[in-house]
């Protein structure tokens, strides 16, 4: 080790000292009256702002939530056992904010912007406030570009547009997170050169984990890493062991980071996994702040809690750069009860919902989407034209199938038309099954849905549908790649392409049958 010379040390110290100016320090103070359960009541600080950060001893920070006549109520983000009654509290004169920048991509951070992945500090230049007012009408434009999730059932029947808010709702263990993670993985394509060539803008992703087990979060991060999705993704973590205030602000941190991308003219996707836990965290701290409880003991402003968050998702007008922020909030229901307080609230706020059912999940229909009650209220305009054309009858066919399915269980004699509807429906359900982490490019989705709705599956046994789809796609990719290329670039199905596609499928059909058994 090199020797340290004393004069060097003093030179460094002198340099540091030279930057130090001994100005008089003016600050506002208050005194802790009461502390406990992550909530502090502070006397003084009469000039403090709502949602301002305040500093307690031992580098613990808090956020002001209640402003009262003689005291303020605030929540603590750090270890509240370090703070004692009578401690001095100082104002920081800045509202709670979040560091934003490209440096956040690929990182796992906590809701205050501190990295927790052990990869060193994040170098960002900008701080944006956590709570920002959502944009007005003038700044927006209708949702018009698709956000492909890579899941055929979603992209065909419940299309999501860039700037939309689509709720993913279902009981525990029904694959809610899987849909969101697949959607994030599928955005890898948008970052490729090929996407750039045909004019698809890259989508930056933010995954906000609220109140989940750390092990589950670690699994998601590992999966994203394995699929090369972390390069364009930020994971914001407020695990179950974090105090309620952190879980409460985590979605706002995610929205703030998403807005940074949106406002710089880019597209962003933010997943809030899940908002029922956030509502529970907010209930906890509201009750501790002695706000009056309402239905299910949630405070009166729990609707506003979610509406102000989800309103921040938007598609900007072209004058403002045309960026977008798409939100995929999640809600966990109890025993399929969508009429509970939080689910109804969030359903009414969002532009549609993807409803997942445990029955379907257990029957092997995965993703377990109930297409009957899943809707997308704005995404239809954003759907790829070709997909809209082929998927038009898909939803109808499936609805008819479900209606007749219950009759068929009695096993009575069925007329020919009914039998046909049933067999087609069964094949379509089979076709829409898809493995996890296997997002499908939109042109391939179009080909397989085309085969399904145009009765090419009639002769295929139900058990073979999935294999048929796989082999058909391989066949077309190898032999008629130009069809896929045309759909990808033109994004619509012209007559010429349709006839080409028909002949390709007809060419493949006998081959598949031959290879059977």
């Amino acid at each position: 080790m090199a020797e340290v010379r004393p004069d060097e040390v003093s030179a460094i110290l002198r340099k540091q000292l030279s930057g130090f100016d001994n100005e008089v320090d003016v600050y506002d103070v208050g005194t802790v009256l009461q502390i406990g359960d992550g909530i502090a009541r502070v006397y003084g600080l009469s000039k403090v702002m709502a949602s301002e950060l305040i500093e307690f001893p031992h580098d613990v920070f808090g956020m002001v939530l209640n402003l009262e006549e003689d005291s303020i109520g605030c929540v603590l983000f750090g270890d509240y056992s370090l703070v004692k009654e009578g401690d001095t509290v100082r104002r920081t004169k800045r509202v709670a904010s979040f560091p934003v920048g490209e440096a956040m991509l690929g990182r796992v951070i906590n809701p205050l912007g501190v990295p927790i992945d052990g990869k060193g500090p994040v170098h960002t230049e900008q701080f944006l406030p956590l709570e920002r007012k959502a944009l007005g009408v003038i700044a927006r434009q209708p949702v018009k570009q698709p956000l492909q999730t890579g899941i055929t059932a979603v992209d065909a029947m419940i299309p999501i547009g860039r700037g939309q808010r689509e709720l993913i709702i279902g009981d525990r263990q029904t694959g809610k997170t899987a849909i969101a993670v697949d959607a994030i993985i599928n955005q890898k394509y948008t970052h490729s050169e090929d996407a750039k060539r045909i004019g698809i803008k890259p989508v930056f992703c933010i995954y906000v984990a609220i109140g989940q087990k750390s092990s589950t979060i670690a699994q998601v991060v590992a999966k994203l890493q394995d699929h090369g999705a972390m390069e364009y993704t930020t994971v914001i973590v407020a695990a179950a062991s974090e105090p309620a205030p952190l879980q409460y602000i985590a979605p706002y941190s995610g929205a703030t980071l998403g807005e940074f991308f949106r406002d710089s003219g880019r597209d962003a996707l933010v997943v809030y996994d899940d908002l029922s836990k956030q509502a529970a965290a907010y209930r906890e701290l509201s009750l501790l702040l002695r706000r009056p409880p309402g239905r299910e003991a949630f405070p009166g402003d729990v609707f506003y809690l979610h509406s102000r968050l989800l309103e921040r998702a938007s598609k900007l007008s072209d004058e403002l750069g045309g960026g977008s922020l798409t939100a995929l909030p999640m809600i966990e229901t109890q025993q399929g009860d969508v009429s509970a307080y939080i689910p109804t609230n969030v359903i009414s706020i969002t532009d549609g919902q993807i409803y997942l059912e445990p029955n379907l999940f257990n029957a092997g229909v995965r993703p377990a989407i109930n297409v009957g009650i899943s809707v997308s209220r704005v995404g239809g305009n954003a759907q790829v034209k070709a997909m809209r054309k082929v998927a038009g009858s898909l939803k109808l066919d499936l609805a008819q199938y479900r209606e007749l399915e219950s009759f068929a269980k009695f096993g009575s004699d069925l007329d020919k038309a009914t039998k046909r509807t049933l067999s087609k429906g069964a094949r379509l359900v089979e076709l829409l099954k898809q493995g996890q982490y296997n997002p499908l490019a939109v042109e391939k989705q179009i080909v397989s849905v085309f085969a399904g709705t145009n009765d090419y599956l009639e002769s295929i046994p139900v058990a073979d549908v999935k294999r048929f789809e796989k082999e058909l796609l391989e066949f077309i990719e190898l032999k008629y790649n130009d069809i896929l290329e045309t759909i990808r670039v033109e994004r619509e199905l012209k007559e010429a392409t349709v006839s080409k596609l028909r002949s390709a499928i007809e060419e493949f059909l006998p081959k598949f049958k031959a290879s059977e058994k």
Binding site: I12, K15, L17, N22, D25, V26, V29, K47
Partner: protein, 184 residues
């Protein structure tokens, strides 16, 4: 209702009474006497708060202590509070009243902590500076704290003006702890 609300109601009532009867100065002076007496004796405060001591006894003690030192109206007010069973808030009420008085007169209290005694000239200079800063009349209350090493700290309401050597050293320490790229 919080203690703050209750005591401000009583203080306001007293203030209005004082203005109506044109006894503002008299009652202000009386309340100052009560405040000083209460703040100088912890036992007295404890006695008022204690639920063990009977209300009648509390009233008698208050009467005996203040009988010849404050005006009749002020004494009446003290009795009134005791009869309303709010004697435990008496100290707060009086404090609130004094702050209302200060507000009315446009006076702020400045608590000054200094490392060494101020000279009279320094005091008047500081008062003048603070009056310029707050645009109000300033009432200084001085205290000595050797731990400051040098300089002084002024606290006006919730705002602290810190010009102590101790704080400067603290800032310097945190700056060194934060480090600089040249140190790595």
């Amino acid at each position: 209702m919080s203690n703050y609300n209750i005591s401000s109601r009583y203080a306001n009532a007293l203030m209005q009474l004082a203005s109506e009867k044109d006894l503002f100065e008299q009652i202000s002076a009386d309340m100052e006497v009560v405040f000083n007496t209460l703040s100088s004796s912890r036992e007295f405060q404890m006695m008022l708060i204690s639920p063990v001591v009977k209300v009648y006894d509390k009233e008698q003690v208050l009467l005996k202590v203040f009988e010849n030192r404050i005006s009749h109206d002020s004494l009446n007010f003290l009795q009134f509070i005791v009869r309303k069973n709010r004697e435990n808030l008496l100290f707060n009420i009086v404090r609130q009243f004094l702050s209302l008085r200060d507000k009315k007169l446009g006076v702020v209290n400045a608590e000054v902590l200094s490392a060494s005694e101020f000279t009279d000239e320094q005091k008047s200079k500081l008062t003048k500076k603070l009056e310029e800063y707050t645009r109000k009349k300033v009432r200084l209350s001085l205290q000595i704290d050797r731990n400051l090493l040098g300089g002084f700290i002024v606290r006006i309401e919730d705002t602290v003006i810190d010009a102590s050597l101790d704080h400067q050293l603290e800032l310097l320490k945190s700056q060194f702890m934060k480090g600089d790229s040249s140190l790595n």
